[in-house]
């Protein structure tokens, strides 16, 4: 079994280019969507089977000039769930563009595939500069996706997001340059060796961490996220909120666990990030609870859910022993995975709600449980996943992380995780209540296209029931 990892980036790009040709569009979407999805799953299975990391140098050029790609349990897992979300959102979009925004469809698929390519490239990249390029691909495509509806609000949100994101990317590059100046290498596994010899990398921490926090909307840099994610069309919101914020957090985990040595000053940095993560959970949930429109609520919930990925940074510092490390990585990936699926499902379902009620106030979505059961099931299961109720992937994430925090006696993290899930219940509850409430005069009878209902439901249901196979999904991570 072997696989040229370059295909994982090349196929989505090809699909994106072909989708620009009007007549070929749907065929290109089908063929390349399925191919890319198949490749991602194949890569995931390969990482399950292989056990140890698989390195490839694009074109046979070795570092420092060549580009290194690496597939291991962690990247394989991220590739896999990225593909799941893309397939779900893709199926949804097939239905969505039939009914609205028809003139936007040609561009949507192009950016859809480029986003996929950028994410795959990010998760596979092994050297820091290549990561920068992927980050830029992500910012540009995500920026355009935000502007897709074309109204003023969306364009303004997109512009704000794009500028901030470019700024953060350059800060990241600045940090990378500092690292290169001190160590003369950008490849992660080579840096892992040289970092332990000299502490110059600490100078690069400020730009690196600030830029990654901006990109993943860590409190206090979260302000760009709610307008950007809430003003665009449902499939784009789903992609942005579930996937585009994840890579920076993934990179931080990667660098911290694989590259950084056990340096005392890193402990302080980890605590700062952990505290910001806790604040993100509290503020994000607080603002989510106060929102009146479902898309803003979901966007703030993303802020809160991303907080978990930073809350546990102090655990990374402690987790440089094999067993602990596995638990932390497992908790992290499970959280990223279940949030991605659940949030995508939520946004898609909210798109359904807006489709029938023509507005996105939560109080105008009554009776979904009565008129559109599938949309309700999607909201129900994905909501339960966000709260972290059992059987869902979110529960396993929380359980693993709370357990890890108890094991290293950092009770703070455990308590915040528990409070966070209670707060999540507080913002998910209004959605459930409104969709279950029965007011005969306010029931909508407009049918929703089948593809839109089923894809939202499927993502939510997979997110919820993935807990049952958590053991299988996570088994490749112990080798990371």
């Amino acid at each position: 079994m072997s696989l040229d990892l370059g295909y994982l980036v090349a196929f989505p790009i090809l699909g994106g280019l072909l989708s620009l040709i009007g007549r070929l569009r749907l065929y290109a979407v089908f063929v390349f969507g399925l191919l890319s999805c198949f490749l991602s799953f194949y890569a995931f299975l390969l990482s399950l089977k292989h056990g140890k990391p698989l390195y490839q140098w694009v074109g046979g050029w070795i570092p420092p000039l060549g580009i290194g790609l690496r597939l291991d349990g962690l990247s394989g897992f991220f590739l896999m769930f990225t593909a799941v979300v893309f397939v779900g959102v893709g199926v949804y979009s097939l239905g969505f563009f039939k009914s609205a925004y028809k003139e936007r469809e040609e561009f949507f698929w192009f950016f859809f595939f480029f986003l996929w390519a950028g994410l795959n490239a990010f998760f596979l990249s092994e050297d820091l500069f290549n990561l920068y390029v992927s980050l830029e691909v992500l910012s540009l495509t995500a920026g355009v996706l935000v502007a897709l509806p074309g109204h003023k609000k969306a364009v303004r949100a997109s512009l704000n997001y794009l500028l901030l994101s470019l700024f953060a990317s350059l800060l990241y590059l600045f940090g990378v340059a500092i690292i290169y100046a001190s160590y003369g290498s950008l490849s992660m596994h080579m840096l892992a060796k040289s970092f332990s010899e000299g502490g110059e990398f600490l100078y690069s921490l400020l730009p690196l961490i600030v830029s990654l926090s901006i990109k993943s909307a860590l409190f206090p840099f979260h302000f760009w996220l709610p307008p950007a994610h809430s003003s665009t069309i449902a499939p784009a919101s789903a992609l942005l909120s579930s996937l585009v914020v994840k890579p920076p957090a993934y990179l931080l985990l990667r660098v911290w666990i694989e590259v950084f040595p056990k340096d005392k000053s890193l402990e302080y940095v980890s605590w700062v990030l952990g505290l910001l993560g806790a604040l993100a959970i509290f503020f994000g949930s607080y603002y989510a609870i106060r929102q009146k429109t479902i898309k803003m609520l979901l966007a703030y919930s993303t802020v809160a859910q991303m907080g978990y990925l930073f809350l546990i940074v102090p655990l990374y510092y402690k987790a440089q022993y094999a067993e602990m490390r596995t638990t932390v990585i497992e908790g992290f990936t499970m959280q990223a995975f279940s949030h991605a699926l659940a949030k995508a499902s939520m946004f898609l379902a909210s798109g359904n709600a807006i489709y029938v009620s023509k507005r996105d106030d939560i109080s105008y979505m009554p009776g979904f449980a009565h008129s559109h059961p599938f949309t309700f099931f999607a909201l129900f299961f994905s909501g339960a996943t966000l709260v972290g109720l059992p059987l869902s992937g979110g529960f396993f994430a929380k359980f693993l992380l709370i357990k890890a925090s108890f094991e290293v006696s950092m009770l703070f993290q455990g308590v915040v995780l528990l409070l966070g899930s209670l707060l999540a219940a507080l913002y998910v509850y209004p959605i459930w209540r409104e969709s279950l409430s029965f007011q005969p005069e306010k029931i909508y009878h407009l049918p929703i296209p089948r593809l839109m209902e089923v894809s939202a439901f499927a993502l939510g249901f997979v997110a919820f029931s993935s807990g049952l196979v958590a053991g299988f999904l996570l088994q490749a991570l112990s080798g990371v």
Binding site: T326, T327, E330, G367, A369, H370, P373, F376, F377, F380, A384, V387, L389, P390, L391, F395, F396, K398, F399, L400, I402, K403, F406, E407, G414, L418, S421, L422, A425, Y429, W432, R433, L436, S437, F438, Q439, G467, L468, A470, G471, L474, S478
Partner: protein, 489 residues
Amino acid sequence: MVLSLILSSLIASLLIAFFKEEWYLPRTLVNVVAAFYKLFVVAYLLWATYQGRVFEISYPMVPFADFHLRIDPAGLLFVSLSSFLWLLTTLYAVGYLEGSPNRRRFFTFFNLAVTSTMGIALAGNMFTFFLFYELLTLSTYPLVVHRGTQKALKAGGVYLVYTLLGGSLFLLCLVVLYTLVGNGDFYTGGNPKLALWVEGQPLMAEFLFYGLFFSMGVKAAIFPLHGWLTRAMVAPAPVSALLHAVAVVKAGAFGVFRLIYNLYGVDLVQSMNLWQLPAYLAGFTLLFGALMAVFQEELKKRLAYSTISHLSYIFLGILIPGQIATMGGLLHLVNHGIMKITLFMCVGNYSQAYGAHKVREVAGMGRLMPITTLSLTLASLGLSGIPLTAGYLSKKYLEEGAKMAGVEWALYLFYAGSILSVLYLMPIVFVAWLGKSKEEKRNFPETSLLMVIPPFITAFLTLIFGVFQHQKLNPVTWVKLIASIEYGP
């Protein structure tokens, strides 16, 4: 075999989720077939387990905890109770919900709730138990708010607050269990690894026990945590009947049974005196629930308070040391389930047929709905502990157990509870038979046959179990088996 118990209702639930609302017949068919199939499996398992065969499956879910299902006599007791009552309630619900909207959603979640109940009964470790315990919370929420009225939504909110807080406490205890002890498996006679840990950490062990007890107590509606149960009575009658009289509340009681007998072990609980504080609380709840029930005008609320009170009988039976008391507790778990479900179904019939919700309003029902009223009378007699009924039997064991363990106060509480039961149940019976109403008698049957027969069957069972005490098919046999296993021969 083990999986088919869980899957039969899970598959039914998923199938129904995809059925269209108008597909009345396929839905009913799936429901009934699944329920009968489950009952059939249960019958086989009862026989096989009695022969001493063990069924279990497990696979690793996370590195330190398995998904573990196992059939033991205690779990099977709960399984057979709930799957038998599931069949009856499904039939009842088909009749009750006839013509009402959203039956698809109702049966989806109803079957999911039954699935979780099965999982709770069969769980082989605390982790699996917790998974299904919380799934039960989740799947019952849409049932509580099924009607979607403001009142129902409010009750649902209260329900979620109680259960989610309880769930968080449970999660915390679970993490402590799996981090500090490292093992939450259920063993006959207690988990040996936990026993070792308790020696080193007696204080922590005490906290863990109480933490787990209270997180189960939320579902079992023990005194300060009972608020949700009375409010949840806005749910449709089949939900109140099966879930709020049997599945949900008894899942809590059953959890306490697992906690004491299979996790900590009876010996440990006795030697550390862990049972005393919960027992006082249960005793207080017994009196409190019964007293509150006397003053309730609304029938369902009265029954809800009675449930709260009777759950404390079960608790006391499980908590008080000694084989006889344990038998009494478990027996009451079964008997109370059968009797209370009868009462809820009868009350549901009254409200469905004549819109009677309050005690005053059932006047004349004896004439209008004789079979339903007869069932109600039998179950009421049973619940008050009148001789020749199942309720008398379990109370006898409970009183005997309390006497043997030297827990005098519990004995007096049982007497007081019986008197109060008479006080809050007999008025309903008297008003129904002797009261006068202006309503015209309708044609026989009283209401849909599907709603008259299930309560009649359970009421009849109340009598059968009470009269034929020494038959092999009486739950007493099974309860004896469990007690002898847990206490050793």
